[in-house]
């Protein structure tokens, strides 16, 4: 009898261990396509031209089309943007003003593909946007979070109300994935092809995220101390959690992304250590950001070079 109980317990323990939910990719709560537009924060129309109507975004979301993979690297049709990679729709007054912040180093082919694709992609969404590329110009390991802080700071100085912090190797595959902010921070790349279009864990908040500038300021941006790959997004998630800004996600069909192929970077072995200290380090962020950076205006984007 006792032996049978022990056997039963062992079998149950093994089954629980093998099928434990956190060992697998997760299903997640999301905002359905029909409700997506209600959640988007729109600003009041402001324009010197009285004859124009406000832009509408209903069609963009509801008539979402999947993008064929072949179209990503090919020639893209778009209207040349203003210097610095800024664009405003001509035929209506945009209600969304987004700054796309791209941390970058040493991936020129990917940057070309990305920038060309994104101009074409964003111009069809009737939004006012600017692409800001932040380049790290030193020999230290890549510090993604610090670069994002630089970009966000510039965007806020230029009065952009919505920030989209975006990796250079992520390409959105649904035209209805509106590049605007919701009242809560949004994890945009929740259905990524290299993750088999699944979400690895519920607190993942990296890749492409949308957050209101005010909220980014409130949480003091991201930590500047994560050098190398990984950790900074989980730290950022903790900061948002403390400020009760838990992220949300759109329908997986709207959140499809593909990752451009690249060599994997060496992982930051301190990333868990830094993460543990994250609560004590909440002062480290936008407030402690150095002022050593220069801004250049290029044809297709604004370039920030930092050190």
């Amino acid at each position: 009898m006792l032996l049978k109980c022990v056997q039963l317990l062992c079998v149950t323990a093994i089954i629980v261990a093998v099928y434990f939910p956190t060992r697998h990719a997760r299903h997640y709560d999301y905002i359905a396509i029909e409700n997506a537009l209600k959640e988007v924060v729109l600003q009041s129309p402001f324009s010197s031209r009285r004859d124009l109507k406000s832009c509408t975004y209903e069609d963009v979301i509801l008539n979402s089309q999947p993008v064929p993979m072949d179209n990503i690297t090919g020639q893209q049709d778009f209207i040349p943007p203003l210097p610095g990679g800024e664009f405003k729709p001509f035929d209506c007054i945009p209600l969304i003003k987004t700054a796309l912040v791209i941390p970058y180093r040493n991936r020129i082919e990917q940057l070309n593909i990305f920038v060309n694709y994104m101009h074409q992609f964003l111009q069809r969404q009737n939004i006012h946007y600017r692409i800001i590329v932040v380049e790290q110009n030193d020999t230290l390991p890549f510090n993604r979070a610090k670069m994002l802080n630089f970009g966000a700071k510039l965007a806020m100085d230029l009065n952009y109300s919505c920030l989209i912090l975006h990796d250079v190797d992520l390409i959105p595959l649904a035209t209805g994935n509106l590049y605007g902010c919701l009242s809560k921070p949004r994890h945009m790349s929740s259905s990524l092809d290299t993750f088999r279009y699944n979400l690895p864990y519920l607190t993942l908040f990296g890749g492409a995220i949308a957050i209101l500038s005010d909220q980014f300021k409130d949480v003091n941006g991201m930590s500047n101390s994560f050098y190398g790959w990984g950790g900074e997004d989980d730290d950022f998630y903790q900061r948002l959690k403390i400020h009760h800004l838990l992220p949300c996600r759109f329908d997986p069909n709207l959140s499809k992304y593909t990752m451009l192929v690249h060599r994997k970077q060496p992982k930051n072995s301190n990333r868990f250590k830094n993460l543990k200290n994250s609560l004590e380090n909440s002062y480290d962020g936008l407030k402690t950001l150095s002022r050593k950076y220069s801004v250049f205006s290029e044809d297709l984007f604004t370039r920030i070079v930092s050190s």
Binding site: P21, A25, D193, F195, Y197, P200, Y201, K264
Partner: protein, 361 residues
């Protein structure tokens, strides 16, 4: 308490001279080896009895710890336990190592197959190979591929159900085959009389007379007859499904996937799998799964064809090349009762009906 009365611990055993011995002492007290080396150094020939005694001692000392005393294991049975992990580990180094180790092991199997069948017909080598493959592939999937966090829980459950179905069918196949062997034992007086009972065929590997034998499957270590052919075919189907499904899950996790026809994920770029050990190991296990699945599919197709034609595999192997080309249609097929009857015989006839029938003989 005297030494003899005490129970054996898990590492102890009674050796050839009926003395208590311990596994850790396996390299001690090698009189025969000592004598052989001694005579070798002196330039004398090594006595034949020395050699055989040394082999016997070696066989006796190859044991694994077990409750109630260490158990003896045959060398050929533990061979797959070494070959398979070694093959997968070396294969995960680089593409060339993959090609090299898979082809080496393939050649080795081809060579050793006939050798084992002839010299040690009752070897467990192939059955242990099957079991080791199942366990290894399952462990790699559960503890290397799943932690990549790319597979949903329901996908894992579906795979487990397929594997469970396969193992149940395998168990059913084997237990039905065991029933038949015990049946032929009870009928042994009839067989010993020298009467050639119709429907019974002797199997050299099982060392039994088996009713309605189709062939002996070394990988399942049992005879396949009309009575367990149904579960054999089912186990093949489940094995193929499980292998293909697990390899698809693995490959789409470690490689770059794409959506085929907007629903099925397939891998398209596996160029980076050898940069990281876990990725490489998962990748080669998936390749191994696919190779095994292809072989099993060929076996399944052959079985389906032969059942439809009404030719048992033991007869098919005796056919000439030209009649094989004609699918055996030009030969006499005594067991053929039409395609529908052939299949219904296999699907319905699950328990042998010989005991009653032969009591009248």
């Amino acid at each position: 308490m005297s030494d003899e009365e005490r129970d054996l611990c898990c590492c102890e055993y009674y050796d050839l001279t009926n003395n208590r011995n311990h596994i850790l002492a396996c390299l001690c007290n090698c009189t025969d080896l000592d004598e052989a080396v001694d005579s070798f150094l002196k330039g004398q020939t090594i006595a034949e009895e020395n050699k055989t005694r040394f082999q016997n001692t070696m066989r006796d000392r190859l044991r694994i710890p077990w409750i109630g005393g260490a158990r003896q294991v045959a060398f050929d049975s533990v061979l797959p336990l070494m070959i398979l992990p070694l093959m997968l580990l070396t294969a995960s180094l680089s593409l060339w190592w993959t090609v090299f180790s898979f082809s080496t092991v393939g050649m080795f199997l081809l060579l050793i197959f006939n050798f084992f069948i002839k010299t040690i017909p009752r070897t467990k080598f192939f059955f242990v190979w099957t079991i080791t493959s199942i366990i290894l592939l399952y462990f790699i999937f559960e503890f290397v591929v799943i932690p990549f966090l790319k597979i949903l829980i329901e996908e894992n459950v579906i795979l487990s159900v397929l594997i469970f179905a396969f193992i149940m069918c395998l168990y059913l196949t084997k237990s039905r085959a065991d029933q038949l062997t015990s049946l032929s034992e009870s009928e042994s007086d009839l067989i010993l009389n020298g009467k050639n009972i119709e429907g019974f065929y002797s199997c050299k590997i099982c060392d039994h007379r088996i009713p309605d034998k189709d062939h002996h499957c070394v990988w399942f270590d049992c005879c396949i007859t009309n009575h367990n052919q149904c579960s054999f075919l089912l186990s093949l189907i489940f094995a193929i499904l499980a292998l293909l499904y697990s390899s698809n899950l693995t490959l789409t996790s470690v490689c770059h996937p794409f959506e085929f026809a907007k629903s099925i994920l397939l891998p398209d770029d596996c160029s980076e799998v050898y940069y990281q050990f876990e990725l490489g190991l998962s990748f080669v296990s998936a390749i191994y799964s696919i190779l095994v699945a292809i072989l099993l599919w060929l076996v399944l197709m052959q079985q389906i064809m032969l059942v439809s034609l009404g030719i048992p595999l033991r007869d098919w192997n005796k056919l000439s090349f030209t009649s094989k080309l004609c699918l055996g249609l030009n030969t006499n097929r005594p067991h053929n009762k039409g395609i529908i009857n052939n299949w219904s015989k296999i699907l319905c006839q699950t328990s042998p009906k010989y005991t009653v029938l032969h009591r009248d003989v």
